[in-house]
Symmetry: C2
Subunit: 725 residues, 2 copies
């Protein structure tokens, strides 16, 4: 992000002066709510009201036009009807205002007319270099540090380090309301609306450099500029935690998400691949969003994994451990020193391990002393304190004493005071003390494990550089260079003589499909024709024994039934003898068929081989993606597949294979030889190059890609192409 | 459950008169808390205090001994030290008191001495016919209908129809505290403690017949009497919903759960099989427990599945649908009539389908009108109303109007008012109106789907009768009868001549293992010996072509290398010729080897066959269990396995196969022939009979059980036995 665009986004997101166009006192108007929020929350910058009627709004003088406002306004907030927006942008531009927030709705969400209006708006924006527009059709934005709420949402959250970006205004208002109760702090709170100009990518680029933002969370319904999004998300996630909820995971729900934006729904597995690719941690429900926000809102420090539990309740302690192990988290092993210290004051029936059950009759002192000792253990990163309201329990005093526990840097103390009425006061004490509280222990566990995984992913991301520096460089795999070739040229090479109408779909025959794969360097079984016994022997020598011989005749469909197939011919003599016998036998069965000789192909030895499937799909958002999976007869039943976006170099191809459940089969399973993994990797790379160069490929399936100790070969292939329109 | 034992449990769980032994005013004593609870919550029956010092407790006269209390006491609550309990039981018995609740701790949880004291207690109980004891080491019990809290827990929940039984006192107190806030009602609330006498099984049997109980929820750490438990749970679950949390799913957490009871941890998959077997719906976290409790506490009516969502917030509506589809729930399809009614008053940009997005500016009237119309649609069973706090939203008034919506019988209306501070008042309105509220929409969705699944399971359970009426009946499978045979007898039949020391483990050889399988009717490949060409032909005729011939010689290890193996012999002539040739050729290679003839076995044709694994494991709680799974090289990677408890008849054996992911492979996948499923079923049954008759089998593995279109055969087997000690 250039210095200039960063400066404009600062003016947009954290302006020092704001003018509200459409500021009003008429109840129910957007401009009324927005101006009241700016005034009411005590915005620390200069605030101007613009209302065509003049007068005053909320006791503030209202200018009739934005051009009358004193110079130096950084952000114009436009709340007037949609049709007035293009003209207002010109007025803002003339004043040198670069940050424009359009809250007004009534654009593309209303159809074609709205889209035209959006185009007009963008033409206006383009007239003023440096101007950036957020919205339209959004809730607005909040910048707690300057007590700025340029939105019609209620409430001003605490200042914090988490940025929230959302494509749903309603989710913004709900999260804001929760955060007020839970005390979650934010650096920025942005409703992105239609993302006509400023979108997720711009915001992530700005926030990656913003020192007040230490983590970000996004609610995404659809991504409009996938390449920019992925690059920006990767840049952000390589330095700060980035969490996303992607709405519309299934066709039915995606339909609900897209119906109002007109976006096309892609496959969720592709979205998953995209988010994984750029190191975004995906959450799957609202509770996880809020809970991750709670942890991130508290501190963006790296979350480490070893979890200890201190509890006055055996059962709930076990439940927390159940959930930790279910999620593959790590239960800390307490040091002997810690165990001895605990032993010295806990009752004889304490649990003597992690979870530390200090027994139901624990008073506040016993409980908090155990928390301090366990938290001080160098083998503990995060401590979850679970309190159940038993007869001797004093939840509020226990909360106070736990609040006084000293938390060393890099450690986290979380709490779960189980229950409703009698816990409320204690929960408030904990929240005031900045100790994150979760209603159920499993929620705390999930949030910890989520963020630990996220940290691990970011560490991986930082260490990784894509093998292809850019898409501009000519693609190579295993030393072979591939020249981009045109649709017609390539098809001609595949011997597809059909002239395809523009924009039509065509499914290539097996021979054509294999020819295309071969053109791109994939190994396919060669089929040769021989018209005499001697020629058959010569061909067999060339392709290598054992060979498969089949009768070659356009007139015969079921070759096996007429003695027209012979497997596993081992020698020159066998081939020659077989040729004569086969032609004789077939002639006996089919006296009228025209026999053109035989075809010969190498007999593939499947010993120690693994069948994979490898293919290309075209996603409406992210373009071509490559899929590899476990093949064979049970492939669909076990659905062991991995999808990746382009580009795919050898490192990523290998990681695709490693993510398959069947990976151990490739890697030398139970004493079997390791297959030629490098050949499988090369096949994935070649298919990825094919996908990136041949944009006219709609779908490609290699099933199976047979991978054995000596190599990888595409035994069957099917390609669907769409001619350029 | 007999009339008498049911009557005693009524006296124990819902007594008309209670005497508290150890009632006290000394702060911190258990008897103080218990007596205060009974007095303070206004127990509706007769209440007596017993304290060795006499005087009065809380203004109530204290008797010095229980024998001084007026006759007719139904429940004695014992709160005095552990060593006094046996004597007090005798006193209770002499008074004719049949219900005894021992809250006191200090028994088996303290080790051997405590176990001895428990035995003494049980000897005392046995002296008084009809007497039943709950505890010791428990929190006590609560019966809201008579405002009885014979416990040291705080608070009295509402009267409701859900019974809660828990092995964790701390979870009881936490759930109670939640229920006070959420307004969840209970019929019974029982902390079972050490289950010395009355356990889950007795309670479930009583509650199954208790008209005030419409559903039950259990927190289980370990099961002591598995057979009784399973039978009682099945009886309960066949008429009322039964939910369980089983703590200790993993070795580490099970250790934490068992360390204080000394119970042995079994495999979680076996617990799962046991709970599935008796129709118990298992929940996996505390939040799900509470949420299921909320729904069940509201009404135990059958939960049906078609879910509609009405919301003022597009994003959260999509999130709810995401979660519904993820959990494989059913999104209702609204009727045209409903869509037309909605169209008539909703703004033009409403969602025109389910989820029904009534748009962010909805007022209470628009929102509640949509709720009523959608709830009235015959295609809708459950409606989830989701409200987000937007600028025009009035959460409290909306709650009031939604509370006035008429809910037809059999329909459910749930709500999720998203947010914190501004939603609180509205949430309270909903709760007061009996509309169940969930903080996050996904929680409501999960609870609905959980209960729908539970309903489906119960319907299945009612329709099912085990094929074996009881374990007493002689086991048969496929018409074959099996006589129970002793360890030595069976081993002798397997030609195991080794004399095994008592209690020792012994792994049978492949031949011995296969012999045992064969004894029980499983098909194994037979190996026969022939010492002449004619005998070889005779044997081959008997076992059927094609056959495999191998040289039979103790001196030759690598038979193939010396021409000593011939596959696929098809005819009598081939066999005879091969015999002569093989002996000749082997003699050439190994002139000095002693040749004892050849072995012959059927050549197994693997075409269209599926490899399964089939075995027996012994669980510390539930005894022998049978496992069947997908076999072959990738078996462990995909872990496609099903575990079942005994007995297993053909119906259950088939359901095991059907639950496997690889089931379609058996059932004629993609044009392949269907395998002999009946033979696979029979193999499972036979293994189950073997498991139930041969208690000395520690482990049994058949890998693979080859199942093809013509039958099922155990190609390899391994049995570990333990001689009776």
């Amino acid at each position: 992000m250039t210095h200039q665009s960063s400066a404009v986004l600062r003016e947009l997101l954290a302006p020092r002066s704001v003018a509200v166009v459409g500021a009003s006192e008429v109840p129910g108007k957007v401009g009324t709510g927005v101006f009241r929020n700016l005034l009411g929350h005590g915005y620390s910058g200069a605030l101007y009201a613009v209302n065509s009627k003049g007068g005053s709004v909320g006791g503030v003088r209202a200018y009739r036009r934005i051009s009358e406002v004193p110079p130096g306004v950084e952000l114009a907030v436009l709340c007037t009807p949609a049709h007035t927006i293009p003209g207002l942008i010109d007025e803002c531009g003339a004043m040198g205002i670069r940050g424009v927030l359009v809250i007004t709705a009534g654009f593309r969400e209303l159809g074609e007319q709205g889209r035209e209006l959006e185009a007009e708006v963008m033409r206006a924006v383009a007239r003023y270099p440096g101007m950036r527009l957020l919205g339209p059709n959004c809730l607005g934005l909040i910048h707690p540090a300057s007590r700025l709420s340029a939105s019609f949402a209620n409430g001003m959250p605490k200042v914090g380090s988490l940025a929230f970006l959302s494509q749903s205004g309603a989710l913004c208002t709900a999260l804001l309301d929760w955060s007020l109760r839970e005390g979650i702090g934010f650096s920025h709170f942005v409703s992105v609306g239609n993302q006509l100009d400023v979108g997720f990518a711009d915001l992530l680029d700005y926030l990656a450099q913003d020192p007040s933002t230490k983590s970000a969370m996004m609610y995404i319904e659809s991504i409009s500029k996938p390449h920019e999004f992925l690059e920006a998300a990767k840049r952000f996630a390589s330095c700060k935690p980035l969490i996303a909820y992607k709405a519309g995971r299934f066709t039915q729900s995606a339909h609900a998400a897209c119906s109002h934006t007109g976006a096309m729904a892609g496959e969720d597995s592709v979205y998953q691949a995209a988010l994984d690719r750029c190191g975004v941690h995906r959450v799957m429900d609202m509770a996880s969003m809020i809970q991750c926000a709670e942890l991130l809102g508290q501190s963006a420090e790296q979350v480490r994994e070893r979890v200890a539990i201190v509890t006055n309740a055996g059962g709930p302690g076990v439940m927390a451990v159940d959930s930790l192990l279910e999620l593959k988290g790590t239960l800390a092993t307490l040091s002997n020193t810690t165990l001895e210290k605990l032993e010295s004051f806990l009752p004889p029936n304490w649990s003597r391990g992690n979870p530390v059950d200090v027994i139901g009759d624990a008073d506040p002192e016993r409980f908090s002393k155990a928390v301090q000792i366990v938290l001080d253990d160098p083998a503990v990163d995060t401590l979850l304190a679970i309190l159940s309201p038993q007869s001797m329990t004093d939840p509020t005093t226990t909360a106070k004493e736990v609040a006084a526990v000293k938390t060393a840097p890099g450690k986290r103390l979380l709490a779960s005071w189980l229950g409703g009425v009698s816990m409320q006061a204690g929960v408030e004490v904990l929240q005031l003390a900045g100790i994150r509280h979760f209603e159920f222990p499993e929620q705390a566990i999930r949030a910890i494990v989520d963020l630990v995984k996220d940290t691990a992913r970011r560490v991986e991301l930082v260490g990784e550089a894509d093998e292809y520096a850019s898409n501009g460089i000519r693609a190579t795999a295993g030393g072979t260079e591939f020249k981009q070739s045109s649709f017609d040229e390539t098809l001609a090479q595949c011997s597809v003589t059909t002239t395809l109408p523009k924009g039509s779909r065509y499914t290539m025959s097996e021979v054509e499909s294999k020819r295309l794969l071969e053109l791109y360097g994939l190994k396919v079984p060669g089929v040769s024709i021989a018209r005499s016994a001697d020629e058959a022997a010569l061909v067999s020598e060339r392709i290598g024994y054992p060979v498969v011989m089949k009768i070659y005749s356009m007139d015969i469909t079921h070759k096996t039934d007429v003695g027209g197939v012979k497997l596993g011919l081992q020698t020159r003599e066998q081939v020659q003898a077989c040729y004569e016998r086969m032609l004789e036998e077939v002639r006996l069965h089919c006296p009228s068929a025209r026999l053109d000789g035989v075809t010969l192909q190498p007999m593939i030895d499947r010993t120690d081989c693994v069948e994979l499937i490898l293919g290309i799909k075209r996603d409406p958002t992210f373009g071509p993606v490559v899929m590899v999976g476990f093949g064979g007869v049970a492939a669909e039943l076990f659905a062991d597949r991995v999808v990746e976006l382009l580009p795919i170099g050898p490192k990523r191809a290998k990681s695709m294979l490693k993510r398959l459940k069947c990976w151990p089969l490739l890697d030398g399973y139970r004493g079997k030889p390791r297959v030629a993994i490098d050949e499988a990797i090369k096949a994935i790379e070649l298919v990825a190059i094919l996908a990136s160069q041949c944009e006219w490929i709609e779908e490609l399936d290699i099933n199976p890609l047979l991978v054995g100790p000596r190599g990888a070969i595409a035994l069957d292939g099917r390609v669907v192409v769409k001619s350029p329109s």
